[in-house]
């Protein structure tokens, strides 16, 4: 049987959160692609159309959760991949905080964008 490889320490909190966000992202990423490339062609996207979608509370909440979970999943994935490559000590700590700050900035900017899209800003 083929061997099992993972960049995560199995059973840890980062491992569990990575799996839980993955389950949510599988559905939402597929929905996002289908809606904005197949149901509506990306070439026909306008601010008015985006605003109409983002004005629906359920859609807005789904997209905002998509932003937060995708950011966490991506940043946590990068961190674990680098830990897996063998970074330690100061390097590991520096990478951790750079990724935490980058993730928080992305969520903050994404939230501003979402609020501009629904007409709040």
């Amino acid at each position: 049987m083929a061997q099992h490889y993972s960049s995560f320490e199995r059973g840890g909190r980062r491992w569990l959160l990575q799996r839980l966000t993955a389950v949510f992202l599988i559905g939402v990423l597929a929905f996002h692609f289908l809606l904005l490339h197949f149901a509506n062609h990306a070439a026909n996207i306008t601010f008015a159309g985006t605003q109409a979608r983002m004005s629906q509370v359920g859609y807005f909440a789904t997209m905002w959760l998509f932003l937060v979970t995708a950011t966490f999943h991506g940043v946590n994935g990068v961190y674990n991949a680098l830990v897996n490559q063998g970074i330690e000590g100061t390097q590991k700590n520096a990478v951790k905080w750079v990724l935490v700050v980058a993730g928080l900035l992305l969520i903050a900017q994404g939230t501003r964008v979402a609020l501009a899209m629904n007409g709040f800003l």
């Binding site: 061997q3 990423l29 601010f47």
Partner: protein
């Protein structure tokens, strides 16, 4: 299984001809993950034009969509996302202990399905108004 975990051979790329399906799955999942996280930051940067008003947002998105190279990059993005999703489902199954005996076959199935979905999506991505 986790007790036979041995990354050393995965990272020794000189031995790529000897890599098993699980090693390729590990490498492709990592590569597609890096691409997707890079795209996420780029995507929010492009969508930030919405902060500059209706016209800027619409003209930026439609201007990008008018470029043929962007359409091809979107096909590539879909391929990367579909593989990451399908192999992600495979990883969840492996972690849950479901179908461990077939994890090689499920990797090949992920590759074939990614290829089929990507090819099938090309008319949609290349369709629609171009410059």
């Amino acid at each position: 299984m986790s007790q036979s975990f041995n990354r050393g051979t995965v990272e020794d790329f000189g031995r790529w001809r000897e890599f098993s399906a699980g090693m390729w799955a590990w490498i492709f999942h990592k590569f597609t993950g890096w691409v997707l996280v890079g795209y996420l930051f780029t995507h929010i940067a492009v969508l930030s034009t919405s902060l500059g008003g209706d016209e800027l947002y619409t003209s930026t998105l439609q201007g990008l969509e008018a470029l043929l190279v962007v359409r091809f990059l979107e096909v590539g993005l879909l391929a990367v996302a579909v593989f990451h999703i399908l192999n992600g489902v495979r990883l969840l199954m492996v972690d849950l202990g479901v179908g461990l005996e077939a994890q090689d076959k499920s990797f090949y199935a992920s590759m074939v399905l990614t290829g089929a979905i990507t090819v099938a999506s090309i008319p949609t991505f290349l369709g629609g108004p171009l410059a």
